[in-house]
């Protein structure tokens, strides 16, 4: 009996709520603050759900990890809202020759393409912009991702979906003047985390508002009557 538990523990299939940090197969996200919260970073393999409005910096949050994981494998963008800009991807260090962009004509085709890419083993990351997904669909993604050792990001609109889907990690993003407000409603092998601010002003100085310096006091101005 003990042996089985030991084996399960070694394979990281048993989670102790009170236990120490589990040693997980994770890859750094590129933001040390987030890595700390996630105990190492994004999972290496699996499905990550990202609930976010478009344009607040969600791709900028994911790209360092994607670039680092690429390693001559393909990065796939499925159904992005608009054109992916080559210049940005190139500046981020992603190899343009290893990018596939797929515009499926229906949701069904999108799901199919996503699963094919995940299980092929030729892709490192698959980004899929989608609306709501069902539990069995995510299960299939999870299995496919493990087969092809690939990480999938499901980028969804911000509408709160009460239905819980079996993802490895779920991120809820909202805008913040200095970066992104992140909360983690769900993660495998850890407690959900409340909202915290991810400061991106170091990485993207031009895309964050200027912080008021601490040694400057604002001169009290007369309020308009």
């Amino acid at each position: 009996m003990n042996e089985i538990i030991e084996l399960l523990q070694r394979k990281n299939l048993v989670w102790h709520a009170t236990g120490k940090k589990p040693i997980k197969d994770v890859t750094p996200s590129g933001y040390s603050e987030l890595d700390e919260k996630l105990q190492g970073g994004f999972p290496k393999v699996g499905v990550v759900e990202v609930r976010t409005p478009i344009g607040i910096g969600e791709l900028r949050l994911l790209l360092p990890n994607i670039t680092q994981q690429a390693q001559n494998r393909i990065t796939v963008f499925i159904q992005p809202p608009g054109f992916i800009n080559a210049e940005h991807m190139h500046n981020q260090g992603l190899d343009l020759n290893n990018i596939l962009i797929i515009y499926p004509t229906s949701t069904k085709e999108g799901l199919w393409a996503s699963e094919q890419c995940l299980k092929s083993g030729a892709c490192s990351s698959v980004l899929f912009w989608c609306q709501s997904l069902e539990v069995h669909q995510v299960r299939r993604f999870q299995a496919a991702a493990e087969l092809g050792s690939c990480l999938q990001f499901l980028i969804k609109g911000e509408q709160t979906n009460s239905l819980s889907i079996p993802v490895s990690l779920s991120l809820q993003l909202s805008p913040h003047p200095y970066g992104i407000e992140v909360s983690i409603p769900k993660r495998r092998g850890g407690w959900p985390l409340p909202e915290f601010t991810l400061d991106m002003s170091l990485h993207w100085p031009a895309l964050s508002l200027k912080k008021p310096s601490s040694n400057i006091l604002l001169f009290p101005t007369a309020k308009a009557i």
Binding site: I56, R60, G82, N85, E87, Y103, Q116, A122, L209
Partner: protein, 466 residues
Amino acid sequence: MTLWLYLHFPMLQLDALYSAKEDEAIVIVEAKKNAIVQLNKSASGHGIKLGMGLGTASSLCCNLKVHCYQNDTEKEKLLEIAHWLYIITSDITFFQPNGILLRVSNMLTLHNGLDNYWQAVKEHLTPLKIHFNYATAYSPLAAQLLSQSAFNQITDNEKKLLKCIEQHNLTKTTLSIKTIEKLNRIGVNNLKALLDIPIAEIAKRFDISLVNYVGRLTGKFQHPLEYYIPPIQFKRCLELLCDIENVQWLERPIALLLNKLESFLTLRDKVSHEIIITLHQRDAANVELIISSAQGDNKAQKWLKLSALTLESIKIVAPVHSITLYASRVVAKHITEVDLFSGYQANTSPLELLSILQAKLGKEAIKGLTLTEDARPELTSQFCEPLTSLKKLTADHKLRPSLLLPMPEPLIDKVSVVQGPERIATGWWDGQPIVRDYFIARCKKGRWLWIFRDQKKAWFLHGAFS
């Protein structure tokens, strides 16, 4: 003297038909003569014989399948056989409409003897599943004569062959009826009698064609022949016995064609990048399926998988009566190297994945990304053929949004400008000039937008720093 092998295909059109059921009685009728020219086993079981009229035949068997004799089908099939045989033997000549002549003598060294050579030819012909009669002889005409009368023996014994030839009646030869009548009148009924007459005597009494015939039959005269030179491309047509209306049922006949493609490619150590499957519909336009494999494949299994994906998305309006398979891009095999110790072992290569995606979603749905040196933002980043190696450009680290709108849209949201302007004024040389001042702005909802103002002071949204 040279030894020749003649292959006679008595029911070529019948063999070329794709039949799902084995036990159907099928006959091929030549319309002009109203005579049955080919029939299968089941039909002959009903008592139908060659040369019968259609009326007699149909009264013998009520559910008889009748097909019209088509010269073209046999021609094509003959070409196919010759193509297939070319791997074993070099000199092949057609004897239209249903015969093939092979020159044996110069292949004997390679195959180490006549028996081995025949074994190789026979085994090579087996997978084609066609009926044939054969015979060897020391002249093309003699081989033809023996083969057509189903001699079915392989020998290089000159005396025995001559004896067999001499037994034949003149009606079996290719001589014209007029000449045969003339010969009959002087008491020459079989070939023995004809061959006994010295050629000089024949020349005195008869025209040159008979002299030529006798000379060629005995091998004394040269028989001018044109040898077959095979094309490199692969094109095969499969005629279906029954029209197929269901798209899914097409898979099996297509698999037959793909198997032939596989053996074609494997023998030449080639791969095909693209195949075109044409479905010939009855009374409707042909449907053409272009199936491509970016990696290049020679395995029928892989092509079948890709074709099945494409077949899912097509519709046929009328029943399909035949299928043509054409390998449009055949290239030498390229070996992909995989490092044993690199750790990660993918089971699907990127190009294979691309072919799978393209087969199902269509070529337009899958895009690659490329960078150009144009300064216009909408032209800098462009779609291209996916997974092609392009030249490396150096990063210039301009701050650019990650998502671009397909077309700039008028700005509606209220925004506050954070950075800018960056003026882009270019394109005056090709008639699409732009003069724009780009700004980075943040809208109330916290989105980082890339906006610009044109010369008319109108504001547009062009992208998001997502």
